[in-house]
């Protein structure tokens, strides 16, 4: 087992001991149960190459050794514009220090480090992310103190990434965490991410599941999300709901969005009193 922070910065050498660069990052492909390292970003003097994992004869123990291959120009990339496959993301850029949602425990965390495991077939897999203060202390150079602190890890399968690319790449996978959530878990996720990310999730899981999840949210929060959708998508979601639920959420959608999720007048509850018998009104409070 190793962690990403200990691999980044590792010198990359040939079998003859010539240093060709250092490890800057690792790409992983997400279209598997556990993401496996696909390529290694090797940097030297402002030139970066994405070297396929299969080119490495050894990785770990403070050294990364590549087979005798020439660093092809085909592998050359120009950060920050790094072309990745649709199922691929960079661990240090897109996962390390990014916010994640633990969908099982239903809380947010920030990735302190990424836990990697060598497999019997020679691949390197992401098994978990480390959160809390321990990885921070270790990465700040206080390894001796960090070894005395408890380790807190979240399994990769329970995570939803909140970084820009991580979020989109995960959603594009059929194995994405969001597809394995129950209604309450999906509701929690929708309420936690930003509105634009929530829209992405809604598009990924479909109107039926979203309708079921919205029942677990307060009307105001559901209205906030529905207001951010395009009108035809909102209608498709509302069409999945029963009469009472649909009416409740439709009312939340039709209210001004910024006023719906906060009561901005303390007196709103008793503002509307009948002024005359012919104009009796009652406000439907959330």
């Amino acid at each position: 087992m190793t962690v990403l922070s200990e691999e980044v910065g590792t010198p990359v050498t040939t079998s003859g001991g010539v240093v060709v660069g250092k490890v800057l990052d690792l790409t992983v492909r997400l279209d598997r149960d556990l993401p496996t390292v696909e390529r290694v970003a090797v940097g030297r003097r402002r030139v970066t190459h994405l070297v396929p994992w299969v080119c490495f004869a050894g990785f770990g123990d403070e050294e990364a050794r590549i087979s005798d291959v020439h660093l092809s120009d085909e592998w050359s990339v120009t950060p920050p514009d790094v072309r990745l496959a649709p199922h691929e993301l960079l661990l240090a850029r897109d996962v390390l220090d990014a916010q994640v949602i633990d969908v099982r425990g239903r809380h947010s965390a920030r990735v302190g480090d990424v836990v990697l495991a060598h497999t019997e077939i020679g691949t390197l897999e992401v098994v978990a992310v480390e959160v809390g203060l321990t990885p921070v202390v270790r990465r700040l150079g206080f390894g001796a103190i960090a070894r005395r602190l408890p380790m807190r890890a979240l399994p990769w399968a329970d995570l939803h990434l909140r970084s820009a690319r991580g979020h989109l790449v995960q959603l594009a996978m059929t194995t994405a965490t969001v597809h394995r959530l129950d209604d309450a878990g999906l509701a929690h996720l929708l309420a936690t991410v930003t509105a634009s990310h929530a829209v992405d999730v809604i598009h990924a899981v479909g109107p039926e599941r979203v309708g079921a999840a919205l029942r677990h949210l307060p009307s105001a929060e559901a209205g906030r999300l529905l207001n951010h959708l395009e009108p035809d998508h909102t209608e498709r979601v509302l069409a999945q709901l029963s009469g009472a639920d649909a009416a409740r959420f439709r009312g939340a959608v039709e209210r001004p969005p910024a006023g719906a999720h906060r009561r901005f007048r303390r007196t709103a509850g008793w503002r509307h009193r009948p002024r005359s018998p012919s104009s009796a009104t009652t406000e439907a409070t959330p």
Partner: protein
């Protein structure tokens, strides 16, 4: 719903827009108005007492800088859903974020000491003891944040901030020369002396406080504003920053019209309030004192909140005013720790408050420039900001502000280290 209910008719268009605006108001108002804390009021009082109306233009420039960067902070929070320290960690890694957080926490504890010192000074103006008043204020602020919901906290804090009208009234009571004040506001002149550079830098630093920059972003996240609210949020920021400048203007004017003309020097805002009485009457003194107390209470809630948000963003923990204690322990424990520590320091007899406050001002000034640069980098990051990335025109505005702040800090360093002789 009552059986006698008739559907309310369509809401008038203007009323609907006003409704939307009122619902969005909060981050800009609170972040802006809390900048007029005791340290700020002291700085403006000294500005007016020492230099009269001459340096009012510094306040105008500071207010413009506040509008620019508070607008950016709010936008960053709304678009990314993260606070400033969280974004710094995501973009620059744990080392830089740790340094920024450590600096913020230390400076914010010092600033909170200043707020409670301001509460103590304000109470003593009215003959009330700090040994009772400060703990009551600390408990009251903590109870509000711990027990209150987001909207209740916001409304109470906005209600507290209405005391700032007292400064406007005391400014009028001082009978200023409005022509000279306007001249000082728009015509930039300054003596090239160490005192002037110090006051100018202090004015910029107290208006564009680091904790205010992080607060507005975190609060916009907690308020759950959407990108479609950004246009209205600009109005919120503009209103808050403008009110900050207006209040500062009247504080300067009140002191310029009275203390400066009599050659009276002051050390803090309480001195200013006391000195106003023989010159502008007991009412001016009382109003100044009420304003000081209200400003201190508001900031005593905002600064620890800003610290708690920053710590939680760094660790990735939950941080929302609507969360119960059990769901956001890091947030509430941090808030409580900062508040209690600051209140205790103020109550310790013989505590070196002046040294703490001076060092805090220095630390805030040192922190400000790197934070502005970090914010500028994030604003230009298309991966984080998406379609809301800073345009070339906006970037020029941010850079211009950074250059002005850097000039003040560099000038102060050069004078302070003796590399440039003081006049």
């Amino acid at each position: 719903m009552s059986s006698e209910t008739a559907r309310v008719g369509p809401v008038p268009h203007l009323k609907a827009r006003l409704t939307l605006l009122i619902a969005v108001l909060g981050p800009g108002l609170l972040a802006g108005l809390s900048d007029d804390d005791p340290a700020g009021i002291t700085t403006y009082s000294v500005l007016g007492a020492k230099f009269g109306y001459q340096l009012l233009w510094v306040l105008l420039l500071s207010t413009l800088a506040l509008i620019v960067f508070h607008n950016l902070g709010a936008r960053m929070g709304v678009v990314t859903g993260q606070g400033l320290i969280g974004l710094v960690r995501e973009r620059h890694g744990v080392r830089i974020a740790s340094i920024a957080l450590a600096g913020l926490v230390i400076a914010n504890v010092g600033t909170t000491c200043a707020e409670f010192a301001g509460i103590a000074a304000g109470l003593e103006l009215f003959g009330l003891s700090r040994t009772v008043g400060v703990p009551v204020a600390a408990v009251g602020v903590s109870a509000l944040v711990l027990r209150g919901s987001f909207h209740r906290i916001e409304h109470l804090l906005m209600a507290v901030s209405t005391v700032f009208v007292a400064y406007v009234l005391s400014g009028y009571l001082a009978g200023p020369d409005w022509g000279e004040a306007l001249h000082g506001l728009v015509v930039p002149t300054s003596p090239i002396t160490r005192d002037a550079i110090v006051v100018i830098t202090a004015t910029v630093g107290t208006t564009l406080a680091p904790w205010g920059l992080s607060f507005i972003q975190s609060y916009a996240v907690d308020k759950r504003l959407l990108p479609k609210d950004l246009r209205l949020e600009r109005i919120d920021v503009l209103t808050g920053a403008t009110l900050t400048g207006v209040i500062g203007f009247f504080v300067v004017v009140a002191c310029a019209a009275t203390l400066h003309t009599k050659g009276i020097t002051i050390e803090d805002a309480a001195d200013a309030a006391r000195a106003l009485e023989p010159l502008a009457g007991g009412l001016a003194r009382s109003l100044f004192g009420v304003g000081l107390l209200g400003a201190a209470l508001l900031a005593a809630a905002i600064v620890p909140m800003s610290t708690a948000y920053s710590v939680c963003e760094f660790t990735g923990s939950e941080a929302a005013l609507d969360d119960r204690f059990g769901d956001a322990k890091t947030f509430y424990i941090t808030f409580g720790a900062v508040t209690i520590t600051a209140a205790l320091i103020v109550l310790v007899p013989g505590a070196p408050l002046i040294s703490i406050l001076v060092l805090t001002q220095v630390l805030n000034a040192v922190l400000l420039l790197p934070l502005l640069i970090l914010m500028f980098g994030i604003a230009r990051d298309a991966v984080l900001m998406g379609p809301h990335v800073a345009t070339t025109a906006s970037s020029c505005g941010y850079l211009a502000t950074i250059v002005v702040v850097a000039s003040c800090v560099v000038a102060l360093l050069l004078l302070g280290t003796g590399l440039v002789p003081a006049f």
